[in-house]
């Protein structure tokens, strides 16, 4: 060998702890192979071995230097990681030692302090007991609350809950105490800490409570109060939901929150939540706030359920409208809490200006619930969008804005690629874009879709639109781009097709479309091709999109860059074939970019557009 591998190896740094075992050998073998090939080349020029070796070194450089450079390049990252790890371990160890020392010192100090505190406390207790034996009882208070009905000497009410909640004078923590009134209507508290308290009385059966009242309790004294509360009967309420006709068939639920808090009318406060559906059935509900919007959990009440409320004056505090949850095609998701709905919108009446409803005793009260007009419009939009999305699935709903008519089915494109005249070998049909352009011989896109069953393709009003999303549209500045034609492909083709291996296509385009500037969805009506396939039953291989003229220059070209079926970053914009039912009025045609002409009609650029007709 003309170069001593060991000599080169000796020039490398010592074996490092984190060095891969095969690194040195691989570097040396690779360089040795290169030197040997270079030597063979030089020996063909001259038989003088010394001269040949000199020529090789002159071109190669010092093999030891090259080997060292490769070793350092490979080891750089590993050595850096190793050094960082060592530093981190060192710092962590130091931190642990410091923390341990600090904890020990703190512990010793705490022990000293605790001992002196205990001694002081003992001394204090001894002297206090000796001076004043009754000091404990004068610190606390008593409270007696009597609840009666109608008037001062009215019937005592048993079973009401009396609650005291507040701040004792000498304590920062809240006190929270509750007692039920006994047979004499009395609830007694004590001994309790003196302080300021908020007193509430509640009738747990009827789910109402008084609006809170502040009382102050002083140490060493008793507190007595008689609370007079009006009798309140329960009454029935019938809810009637007033919906526009368009929404009466939709499965929506309206959740209502009624509040009685008019102090001028009554000291009682009550809140009731009830839901009513578009079919009139009633629900109880709870609302939960989730990360991605508000959800309603509703449980249907039996048909005979009545809506009982205390006979008070109520205002509608909150109204929520829910639609079935958007999962699995829009079906509601149920769990043990009930059925889940997405809330479209909630209207609150924080200004206390919501509609007022009276619940009168002894009658069946009928409350009509009106949905605000702007909320109705919002629900209608949401319902329509969901219906469209059910058909579109994961496809970008923006495509529906381009279509006149109702999209009834979506077929994914099953094969697509682009071919470029100026890179004839390029066959990357698996990249995330395709394109159509008119420069330097042209860029073309080939596509195919699944076979459409005969009955799916039939129907006078059924159109098929190829929808491709242009993420970048370029338009030349000086010349008109020309039309884009759809050519039927006549033979099979693999997805990785290159320009030079394009399949044969029909001589004439089946349809032509004017080029449209701007990014977004572009639609191409391929209805005649699908109808013909269905009628003749022949095998079909898809279509090719290309400009009629493909000779523009690189400074003045036009084209679309479409998302391909491999577009992983934009899955909602992958190419699809849409089946669209046109309105039966016959006036509208499938919306497609600019002019549409077919083989059956005159095809001159700039001619007035005509709707393609089926040829039988």
């Amino acid at each position: 060998m003309l170069w001593d591998k060991n000599e080169i190896a000796e020039s490398l740094p010592p074996v490092h702890r984190v060095e891969p075992p095969s690194l040195r050998a691989e570097i040396l073998d690779e360089l040795a192979d290169h030197l040997a090939c270079a030597m063979q080349r030089e020996l063909r020029r001259t038989p003088d071995v010394k001269a040949a070796r000199k020529a090789v070194i002159a071109r190669f450089g010092n093999p030891a230097s090259v080997a060292r450079a490769l070793w350092f390049q490979a080891m750089k990252e590993a050595i850096m990681k190793d050094r960082i790890m060592l530093m981190a371990v060192g710092v962590l160890t130091l931190a642990v030692v410091v923390l341990a020392a600090f904890s020990w010192v703190s512990l010793r100090e705490n022990q000293k302090t605790n001992r002196s505190l205990l001694a002081a406390l003992k001394e204090l207790r001894a002297s206090s007991s000796a001076a004043n034996p009754s000091a404990v009882s004068s610190d606390l208070a008593n409270a007696t609350i009597k609840v009666v009905e109608g008037q001062e000497n009215g019937r005592p009410i048993q079973g009401f809950r009396v609650e005291l909640r507040g701040n004792p004078f000498r304590d920062s923590q809240d006190e929270w105490l509750a007692q039920h009134t006994n047979g004499e209507g009395v609830a007694s508290f004590g001994p309790i800490n003196p302080g300021n308290y908020n007193m509430k009385i509640s009738d747990e059966n009827k789910k109402m409570e008084t609006i809170g009242e502040g009382i102050t309790l002083y140490g060493g004294r008793g507190f007595e109060k008689t609370v007079v509360l009006p009798e309140v009967q329960e009454t029935d309420v019938h809810l009637e939901l007033n919906l526009p006709d368009a929404l009466k068939e939709k499965p929506l639920v309206v959740a209502l929150s009624f509040v009685a808090d008019n102090r001028k009318a009554s000291p009682w406060y009550a809140q009731h939540k009830i839901g009513i559906a578009s079919d009139g059935s009633m629900y109880s509900f709870s609302s939960e706030l989730e990360d991605f919007g508000r959800k309603l959990f509703v449980q249907k009440l039996p048909a005979a359920s009545r809506f009982h409320v205390p006979a008070l004056e109520y205002r509608l505090e909150e109204l929520e409208v829910g639609l079935p949850q958007k999962e699995n095609g829009g079906d509601s998701k149920s769990d043990e809490r009930g059925v889940k709905y997405d809330v479209v919108r909630k209207t609150g009446h924080e200004s206390r200006s919501g509609p007022v409803f009276q619940a009168l005793p002894g009658v069946e009260n009928k409350w009509k619930i009106e949905i605000p007009q702007d909320l109705v419009a919002q629900i209608e939009t949401e319902v329509k969008a969901r219906e469209i999305q059910k058909v579109l699935g994961t496809v970008d709903p923006g495509v529906a804005d381009r279509v006149s008519g109702k999209i009834v089915k979506v077929y994914p494109v099953v094969k697509d690629c682009m071919v470029l005249a100026y890179i004839p070998d390029w066959n990357r049909g698996d990249v995330d874009n395709t394109a159509v352009a008119n420069n330097d011989g042209g860029v073309r896109t080939l596509l195919d879709w699944p076979r459409i069953a005969g009955e799916e393709g039939a129907g006078e009003g059924r159109r098929f639109l190829l929808a491709l999303y242009s993420r970048e549209t370029t338009i030349g500045v000086s010349t008109a781009p020309g039309a884009i034609g759809i050519y039927e492909i006549l033979g099979d083709w693999p997805e990785r097709t290159a320009w030079k291996a394009q399949p044969a296509v029909a001589k004439d385009p089946r349809a032509k479309f004017n080029f449209e500037p701007g990014d977004g969805w572009k639609l191409f009506d391929v209805t005649p091709i699908i109808h013909e396939r269905g009628e003749t039953g022949r095998t079909a291989y898809g279509v090719e999109l290309r400009f009629a003229e493909e000779n523009r220059t690189s400074q003045d070209w036009s084209g679309y860059a479409f998302v391909s079926r491999e577009g992983e970053k934009e899955p909602a914009r992958r190419p699809v074939l849409l089946a669209v039912d046109i309105e039966s009025s016959g006036a509208a045609a499938a919306t497609s970019d600019a002019s549409i002409t077919s083989r059956a009609a005159a095809t001159t650029e700039g001619a007035a557009p005509s709707v393609p007709t089926r040829t039988r």
Partner: protein, 123 residues
């Protein structure tokens, strides 16, 4: 030639060469030399660090074969990521050279074949 010009496109030249077929270091220098008609002479001091760097970035993968002379030879081939990068660098080069050509020649019509504005080929 100005070595700074070469250093900016070494990676592209290596990727293009490897994209044609799996190959090894010495063969790469010879192919680049021949295809450029002697214009690009890759120095081994920059060739192998570049090859090893692209391998660690995942653009190339390597394997060893034995030669007839009993030596071990390291071959490089393009990965899927490398193919993507290759196409991107090619497109970038085309735009770059066309822009430079426009400024140098000052001819908007691109006479003499200004670099083609590549159709939007996004990897």
């Amino acid at each position: 030639m100005d070595s700074k010009l070469l250093s900016g496109c070494v990676e592209m030249l290596l990727l293009e060469t490897v994209s044609r077929a799996p190959t090894y270091g010495y063969a790469i220098t010879q192919e680049v030399l021949q295809r450029s008609e002697g214009y690009f002479e890759l120095k081994e001091g920059s060739l192998y660090p570049a090859l090893h760097r692209m391998e660690s970035q995942g653009w190339l993968e390597s394997y060893w074969l034995d030669t007839e002379d009993g030596r071990r030879r390291k071959y490089y081939r393009l990965t899927a990521l490398g193919a993507t990068v290759c196409v991107a660098k090619r497109a970038e080069w085309e735009r770059f050279s066309q822009a430079v050509g426009s400024v140098v020649r000052g001819n908007a019509a691109g006479a003499g074949g200004g670099a083609r504005l590549a159709a939007p080929v996004f990897p």
